[in-house]
Each structure stands twice: as structure tokens, then as C-alpha cells.
Subunit: 393 residues, 2 copies
Amino acid sequence: MRLNLLPSAEAAVRLNSLAKNLTDYNIDIAVIDDNATKYYLTGQVFAGQIIVMAREPRMECFVRRPNHLEGKEVRHVRKPEEIPALLPAATLQSAKTVGFDFGVTDVATFNRLSSLFPSLTAVNSAAAIRATRAIKTPAEIDKIALSGRLQTEVYDQIPALFHPGMTDLQLQIEIERDLRLKGCLGQFRIAGNSMELFMASILAGDNADNPTPYDFAMGGAGIDPSLPVGANNTVITPGSTVMVDANGNFTGYMTDMTRTFACGPTDDQAMIAHQLSIDICDAVARAARPGKKASALYELAIEMVDRAGLRHFFMGHHQQAGFIGHGVGIEINEAPVIAPRSRDIIQEGNVIAVEPKFVIPGVGAVGIENTYVVEADHTRCLTLAPTELRQLG
Amino acid sequence: MRLNLLPSAEAAVRLNSLAKNLTDYNIDIAVIDDNATKYYLTGQVFAGQIIVMAREPRMECFVRRPNHLEGKEVRHVRKPEEIPALLPAATLQSAKTVGFDFGVTDVATFNRLSSLFPSLTAVNSAAAIRATRAIKTPAEIDKIALSGRLQTEVYDQIPALFHPGMTDLQLQIEIERDLRLKGCLGQFRIAGNSMELFMASILAGDNADNPTPYDFAMGGAGIDPSLPVGANNTVITPGSTVMVDANGNFTGYMTDMTRTFACGPTDDQAMIAHQLSIDICDAVARAARPGKKASALYELAIEMVDRAGLRHFFMGHHQQAGFIGHGVGIEINEAPVIAPRSRDIIQEGNVIAVEPKFVIPGVGAVGIENTYVVEADHTRCLTLAPTELRQLG
């Protein structure tokens, strides 16, 4: 079986993009050891390392397992200590730096792999990798768009999954099953170790205001202190809202979509806040043109919230999140970050999730989240379920 | 809300155990930054760090979020740079080393946190933490045993979830739903970044022989190259087997259980191999007494396999795994490791999953996996579903 499952032109585009970013950061050689970036470069996950020689540019895949992967850039090794002897001596001699993604490489692995290159200075390649993966190729955008269509089909069915007396968790379990039957892979990739979530955040009523340790936009107490986030066995009762933010990974690439559902009549302020969330998404999408500062998109949202006098309910109530959006692709927390101190600049090919959400005490969470791709002439929405507060049941 | 949810005597037992192991490794202060070990020490997950002062012993929890956690050992900080000034000067002055778990701490976090202690030598605390968490307290064993009972209830229902014509993935989705309805948290904690699995490995027929990049006992092609493991849409047909190894995390602590099901009449060699797996589990459990080398348990299994002439089918066929068991608790890959070169010694309080499995070409995977707790006078099985090859449907 071929290791590199990408068409060769596509593989070259991705390698060249990474090589250019590495070179911009003065990184001569990069060691790729994480599943997400291996998947980016080859369309497949394997155990082993990719060595990117940025100046040429070229890459070699050193595979520990599985043992049946083949290709001209593939070498099978039992351990990474075999790698240096298999690299071109001229490349190693002319190189000065070797990059590792410090954000996802554990210290033990870093110590082991960096010792293979004693003559090179080990540097952080995280920014170069992040910049590369932030600009999606058309083939990547196709995968993300397909995830968005499939996720939309599931979201369209959510009201029919509800029956009176259901808890948030019972509804979540039926949504999980529908996602899986539609092809959702389940795996929810988050770069770094600190954030954990299983399949979905479903927030009913005042559970939306329970704070979480994780850096998600919303909270929820969860059902166990080992995983304090999301649904907490709240019975869904009339007058409350149910916010659904569920796994959109159908293709190795994910979309991020939130929709809010109403159980019975809804409080006026919640209706106003929900419409404002839709309006903010529209405004941010219009403003998210190449060259725009990501921080300016955050400011745009905050101004709209302030004009409506809803700041105390924005991105949480007792505990508020400090961002309104983020890049999404193979992982849920890619660049750019839409936050006040973000230095990211919006670029063509960015795929961004925008999630201006509110928590209204006594009612629950309201608002939406859409995933958009920044194209040359406009910003296209990939998450297409109806945005209004739909009735459950 | 209290941060430390453990009864104070239980919290003290765990802290003292970790402090003793740290001291044995000459680690004076340990910085705990991963969710699994934070949960071990406090019964809760939060954003921030625990500082363990091993010589006293004492710990302080520095919490970034959530903002409502309280307790005498809790300090709220905006960033970890505030920590050193909040620690006792005498402790810092007398300390020489500060430990970080190199196996789970990323380089960026390590660089940031180790720079807070410029006068101390940063060392690897992974072995001390691993040794601590390998010995479960009675309260931890109760949680694991409860997971085992709930997981058993779900496994008992698996034959009733099957209908003819079903694929492996369709059966998996119904098992996932049953697990979740019974209280399974879903989250499947694996230390390190390299292994990924969503909820379950369900292997039908020859898909069991498809190799995976991950260090699991079994393989499977999966349904997408971004996650090449497990079910691959194989239709479950008469004459094949279906091996089910599904998530046992109901309490923050998990059990690991595998059972194999038959669709129609089963090949004689597969029946023999399945019974041998049961016999190996029984023999390993009897032999797994405190003081026994983990490697000797592996040798015991291999001898039984060799006597039966089934070595070519053991732990895979085209690609074979090099272990037959592992510790389990908060994470699925804890100590001890039951493998030929393991240096681990079985101890009272270990909880071990034993999974001698076979892949029979043309039939599928057979065998079982049980989770056992090593008690003073015997080794007790916590995964109680019937072990025989049960008929589906």
C-alpha cells in the first residue's frame, strides 16, 4: 500500500508550502512526529517520523509501523536512531538548524530525536507548521466542505431526535449515533494536551453557565469530575434553550458548527441575543477579507455586543472566554485565532470557525457557530443548517 | 466548589505515595501539568499546575480556571509566572531538583515552566509518577471495579444488538450508544500523543489482520486514512468472528475488556485458539502475584502458545504486537507492561489488562481480554462477561 495517499501535485504543494515557511523561520530540517502534520503531508497516519529538508525541498518518511507502506520517499526503520545515516550527508552538513514542533512534542521524544542531530541547533517549528496548515489547499477545502454538508444533514434531524422529558445527555447520545451513522469518525483532534471533549458539547438551561477548566468557548459541568465539560443530565424543560456544538470530523478534516434549539417559548432577551449572534457571524464573515487583522474581527464583534448592552452575557456569564473564533482543519484549534491580542492576519485559504455565543441566566446558551473559508472574492459558509432558534420536537 | 474532591485521608495517601517515589528518584519538587495526574491527586481536572513539595510532603494547586474552585491548598493565578513567589522560600532554597513528566509535557510548556525555577535542575519525573499511579488505592480499585460491572452489563447485551447483514461499524455504533446510555464517559485517555482510537476496536473477519500504525494489540484498517484502526465497514458474515474491545471508562477509571463473538459455525482452529486465550488469561492471573516479573508473565503466555503451535497467529498475523498486557487506570497505558523486555515487577494494587489474542486468517480475531486487580491473596477479575465465543443474534 502506498504511504503517500495524496496526488503527487497536491503532496508537492503542501511540502513546498511547509518548506517555504520553515525557510522563512531559518529552519533547515524539520522533524515531523505528530499524527496531524504527518496526515497533512501524506494523507495518512503512520508510526515514525517525516524529515523535511526545507532548502531542497524534499522529504523522507521513516516508518516504524505499519510494515506494508511503500513509496519512493519511504524507508522502514526499527528505531529513529537509524535515521541520520539514511539522510544525505550533504544536506546534514549544510544544515544549521533542526526544527521540532515544541507545542506537540513531549520532552522525552524531543530529547531522543534532537540528540540524533548533535551538530544542529534544535529550534521550534511550531509557528512555521501552524502558518502552513492555516492556509488550506483546494483539496483540503473540499474535504472540509464535505464534512460541513454531512454535519448539516445531521443537524437538520436534531429536532426529530428530541422527546419531552429527555435530558441533555440522552439527546446528545442520539445525536452522537446519528453523526456516526452518517460517517463521523468520532475522533476530535485538539493540538496540545490540555483540552478534552467527547463528541459534543450539549448545553441545556443553566448548565451553560457552569465554568469548565478547558479553553472552549462554553462550559458545562459534565457528568463526572474527571471530564468537567458539557452535558450534566439536565432535563430539557420548557423555557430553556439547548445549544448543540457537535463533532464535524467526517473526512479527517472537520467543520465546527453550533446551533441552538428552543424548548417551548423563549425569553425575549435570549431571542435578541441569538439574532445578534447571527448578525455578528454575518458581519465577521463580510469583514474577514485577506489582509484583515484577526484582532479587528474580535473588536467588530465586541462593538456589536456593547451596542446591544449584552457584554455581561457574551462568551459566558460567570466565566467568559476571551476569543470569538479560531482556525479549524485537521485539528480544532488551528490558526488564525480571533482574539483581542491575536497577531494573526486573515489570508485567502483560511478556514475559520466564528462562534459569538451568549449565556442568558435562567434560559441557557444562545447563538450560533459557522465555519467559513476565506476565498479570494468572498467568505463562504460551509455549515449550512438553519440558523434560527428552532423548536425541538 | 471544593477543588480537591477526594476525602482528606485518600488525598493524603496519594500525595504521600507520590512524594515517596519522587524522593526515591531525588526529585524535591514536582510540577504536575497533565490532566490525568491532576485527577489522580485531587479527583478533579482543572487548568493550572500542582506543585508537589516531596520532602514535606505537601502540595499546592495553582488554578487558572475555572474560577470557582476553593480549598486551603488552592491559589488562583492568571499565569504560571506568579507561582514561585507564592511558594515557601525555604522550600525553594533547600530544593535542588524540579521534576516534570517528560513523557506528557510538551517542550514549549516545559521551557516556560522550568524557567520559573532557574536555580533548580529540571529532571524527568515520569518514572516516579508512573510507579505511583501503578499502585491503585482501594478507592481507585472501587472505581475501576464499578467500571468493570457497567462495562459487563453492556457486553452482555451485544448479541442482541446484532442483526444479519450488519457491518462491523453498524454494530459498533449500537455498542457505543449502549455504553453511553449506561454511563460511559466516552473519553479514552491514552498517555502520550501517538495512539488514537475512537470508543472501540471492533474487528470482523479478515480486517483483524490489517496492520495499524498504533501500538495497540490488534489492528484493523479503519474507515479513513486519517484514523487507520478498527472497523472498516466489513459486513459480518457466517463463519467469521467479531472481536469487541470497547471503552470501559465509566468513572474516570477504566477497565479493558475484550470478548469475541461468532457469526454462525466457527473454524476448529479458531475455537482452539479462543480457548487457549482463556487458558492463558487464567494462567497469567494465577501467576501474577506480588514480586513476579512482568516479563515472566509474557514468557508464560508464549510457552503456552508455542506448545499449541499457534505462534504465527498470536497477537496478530502479518504484523504482531510485542506485549500481552498493560496496566490500566485513569489511562489505558499505565504500568506495569507485560512484555519480554519489561523491567516491571508485579505488585499488590496493580490493575492489569491481559489480552492474549489470535488472528486466524479467513476467520478473524479470537481471544479475550480481562482486567485484574492484584490483591494480597489472589488476583481478582473485574471484567465479568462470559468468556466463551458467544453467538451473535
